[in-house]
């Protein structure tokens, strides 16, 4: 079956919904489809806790936010993109305020801001510590106003159809019925979020399997800077549930097993009783996660059944501050870890959290495939470079969601319909999915869960916080072998009704693609920068690697890495200095 839309959005999270609204507002005559594998308000944006950065205070300036972001990125961010992002972020946050987002307030009614890691000024807007939840529900509810937005809830996109370098539409399967449909479109926007699930221990929800990255990669759009994977320093052991950076911004301390604020030993400043911006616990995430590894090596971490951990100490804040500023932290600790942070130390450890890399786009969200756009965590513009600053991602969804929406709308208004060859390709995809559904002949004997777990451990072992050429080469080989084993995966469920086993297979396939681009990009980058730390190349190398890596999928399916220079405008490359 075939349906036609002007623009198809893949993803109904923060970026997708913002894009949908932008199109509905800019060009009400266009027909927009929002296709999402979960109901939009279940999207992962819902889990974001801490806040969204945008310059608003009288003592703050755009230049300072730009500088924090660029130095935070270890100079790998494109400076034109960062400038534009920082300029537009406050307007987007205000727009969301007008749409009803319940931002936390000062007594006089103005929006309140809080400190955040790597930021020199207080500029992080927050809705207590459920910022993403409130942003997503505000966007979702606001999107209901527009009659031109058609939702396909619980539909899974399996392929982008591209003919001769031009997008034609997507193929998707409806979960509740197993119906496979071609949705033709003049423009497609990917807003499918990140891929934390390629690692075993992550804050990311089950749905974050990098589908959009794999879709784009297979459609001929390269993936940029995939070696840069962010570890967040404070996840709960076992569950990987995130304890937001806001906990440290409000004054929390990180202690080793001796009760010592160890960050002072890692050139991150001196311990003060109250939080100091860009210092100690408010340093950037890459440096904090790396410090953790050294503490473990020195035997100063705490042993837990789920591996080594350190302590997050919030006790001195008192129950009142905790309940006012970070109530969800207390709720999560009590409900999931059975500790009360107002009275006890909380065990935490670094956890895979965010993907700096993603589908290569320009500052309008356009990819090299004509008519294909990407925004949000799936995309890499790049404003995050080698390390994202906390609270820059939520405003990124808004700024680039809106930009991609507007650009796609303009493009779609002047583009023509699908080609014959495009439709034939889509038919082939129908047959492929149909085959998987009806049961492959002969069925394989590899368990999907086994493959997934082995892949995750390969990634942790090969491409974790610290990497070496050896560990990466081994990971490359193992992953290559998994590509073959994937075809042997066993699908026992042949039902057309809500077939989640087929889904896990498709997600595993996407993750294997993404994993491969991560390890290849990491292997080729022979330097250490931001979140990419090579023990065999421990220094930053601006002569060779002040460049974005672009992972292309060659016609034989192999991964090929090319480089693209970083855009430097007003901020020459410097040293990253924190706490001094």
């Amino acid at each position: 079956m075939t349906t036609a839309h002007d623009v198809v959005l893949v993803g109904g999270g923060g970026a997708g919904l913002r894009a949908a609204i932008a199109i509905a507002e800019a060009r009400p005559e266009l027909d927009v489809a929002v296709v999402s594998k979960v109901y939009p308000m279940r999207s992962h944006t819902v889990s974001a806790e801490g806040g969204a950065a945008g310059v608003i205070g009288a003592d703050d300036s755009l230049d300072e936010h730009i500088y924090d972001t660029i130095s935070g990125s270890d100079w790998l961010a494109d400076q034109d993109a960062v400038e534009m992002f920082v300029e537009e972020a406050p307007r987007e946050l205000i727009r969301l305020e007008h749409w009803g987002c319940p931002w936390s307030r000062e007594p006089d009614g103005r929006v309140a801001v809080r400190p955040f890691g790597g930021m020199k000024k207080q500029r992080t807007w927050f809705a207590a510590d459920k910022t993403g939840f409130h942003m997503l529900h505000t966007l979702f509810q606001t999107s209901l106003k527009y009659g031109t937005i058609h939702r396909y809830d619980e539909w899974f996109v399996t392929k982008l159809v591209v003919d001769d370098g031009v997008i034609q539409g997507v193929v998707a399967i409806e979960l509740s019925t197993g119906r496979i449909e071609t949705m033709t479109a003049k423009a497609v926007i990917l807003a499918t979020g990140g891929c934390g699930r390629v690692f075993p221990f992550t804050t990311n929800a089950a749905i974050k399997t990098g589908d959009g990255m794999s879709l784009a990669y297979r459609a001929g759009a390269p993936l940029k800077d995939m070696e840069f994977v962010q570890y967040h320093p404070t996840g709960l052991p076992f569950t990987g549930i995130l304890i937001t950076e806001a906990a440290r911004a409000e004054g929390g301390w990180l202690l080793n097993k001796d009760g010592y604020r160890y960050l002072q030993d890692y050139d991150l400043g001196k311990p003060e009783p109250t939080p100091v911006l860009r210092s100690m616990e408010l340093g950037p995430r890459d440096r904090l996660s790396q410090a953790f590894v050294h503490e473990v090596e020195e035997g100063r971490a705490i042993d837990t059944p789920y591996g080594p951990a350190v302590h997050l100490d919030l006790r001195h804040l008192g129950a009142k501050v905790i309940d006012a500023k970070i109530p969800f932290v207390r709720e999560l600790c009590l409900k999931y870890q059975n500790v009360d942070p107002a009275a006890e130390l909380v065990q935490v450890r670094p956890v895979v959290h965010y993907m700096m890399g993603g589908v290569h786009t320009d500052i309008h969200g356009a990819t090299p495939v004509k008519g294909l756009y990407a925004a949000g965590e799936v995309a890499c513009v790049s404003i995050n470079g080698a390390n994202r600053l906390g609270s820059n991602s939520l405003p990124e969804l808004l700024v680039f969601g809106a930009r991609a929406g507007r650009a796609a709308a303009e493009y779609a208004a002047g583009a023509s319909g699908p080609t014959r060859a495009g439709l034939r390709q889509a038919d082939d995809e129908h047959r492929r999915i149909w085959r998987e559904l009806r049961g492959r002949e002969p069925n394989g004997n590899e368990r999907i869960a086994d493959l997934r777990e082995q892949m995750q451990h390969t990634m942790e072992g090969g491409a974790g916080i610290y990497r070496t050429g050896d560990s990466l080469t081994k990971a490359v080989d193992t992953l290559h072998e998994f590509q073959g084993r994937r075809d042997q995966a066993r699908i026992e469920d042949h039902s057309h009704t809500f077939n989640t086993e087929l889904l896990t297979f498709l997600e595993l396939s996407a993750m294997l693609d993404v994993a491969e681009t991560i390890v290849y990009s990491a292997l080729r980058r022979e330097e250490s920068r931001g979140a990419h730390q090579r023990t065999d190349y421990s220094a930053r190398d601006n002569d060779r690697f002040l460049a974005h890596s672009l992972a292309h999928r060659a016609s034989d399916g192999s991964c090929q890495i090319r480089y693209l220079p970083v855009t430097i405008t007003r901020w020459p490359v410097g040293e990253r200095v924190y706490g001094r």
Partner: protein, 247 residues
């Protein structure tokens, strides 16, 4: 502590089953495992065909609501040990049509949601250049609780009225209408009135209060409904006495 526990899980696949049946699975009983971990264990290790929804595993996405031992619950926030020694009954949310296994059809709620205009309605449009609208912490507190709904549907599942009359607009939708009505930035209360005072609106509720008991996020939908009944009564009286015929 025993080292395993039985999950008695509802299975239903419309292509082959005439009606739902129960199937037992033994899963490890670990101190920090929630019911959802048990289901994931089944899916990964024992039977890949089991279908259910989940995503965040931190009680915020609203996907994983099911009946656990007969009560609606978020399975990612329900510990196995709290239901030991078992067997633990895990069934699809009550009051909804079952799609398959533990997956229910919540399309009805998604269809009702836009009817209460759950967005800011303004008489005027404020340009972005004017900056943020002011709202004091007290004004925020007026509606904050009703903005915490994760659409998990536990309240619909607990609501006896919804069970009998699926046209009832239901607790979460009414709480959300109240969330906007009480927001100092909103002028849409009059627009929402018709839907809310319709017989399928607040008056459908016989105040059983089960929704508030079931709610995992302390939204207190029952309180929202009661509070709105007062408003609705006032508005109805006003419409009788004012010559214009109401708001």
């Amino acid at each position: 502590m025993a080292d395993s526990i039985t999950l008695r899980v509802t299975r239903y696949q419309p292509e082959v089953d005439d009606e739902p049946r129960a199937q037992d699975f033994d899963v490890p009983l670990r101190e920090n495992w929630v019911v959802l971990d048990g289901l994931n264990y089944i899916k990964d290790r024992l039977d890949g065909t089991l279908s259910y929804r989940w995503s965040c595993r931190m009680g915020i996405c609203g996907s994983c609501g099911m009946m656990v031992d007969g009560e609606p619950a978020l399975t990612c926030a329900t510990f196995l040990v709290d239901h030991a020694p078992g067997p633990i009954r895990v069934e699809p949310l009550a009051n909804f049509p079952v799609v398959r296994d533990l997956v229910v059809d919540i399309g009805d709620f998604l269809e009702k949601l836009p009817r209460v205009s759950p967005w800011i309605v303004r008489d005027d449009d404020i340009p972005v250049d004017e900056g943020e609208s002011l709202q004091t912490p007290e004004e925020l507190a007026d509606y904050k609780q009703y903005s915490m709904c994760i659409n998990c549907m536990l309240c619909y599942s607990a609501c006896p009225v919804y069970g009998l009359d699926p046209d009832f607009i239901g607790p979460a939708a009414i709480a959300l209408a109240q969330r906007y009505n009480l927001d100092s930035r909103d002028d849409g209360a009059a627009k929402r009135l018709d839907v809310l005072i319709h017989p399928d609106g607040v008056w459908g509720c016989t105040f059983v209060g089960e929704c508030t008991t079931a709610c995992p996020k302390d939204v207190d939908p029952a309180g929202a409904i009661q509070r709105y009944k007062l408003t609705a009564a006032m508005e109805t009286i006003k419409s009788y006495v004012s010559p214009g015929g109401g708001p």
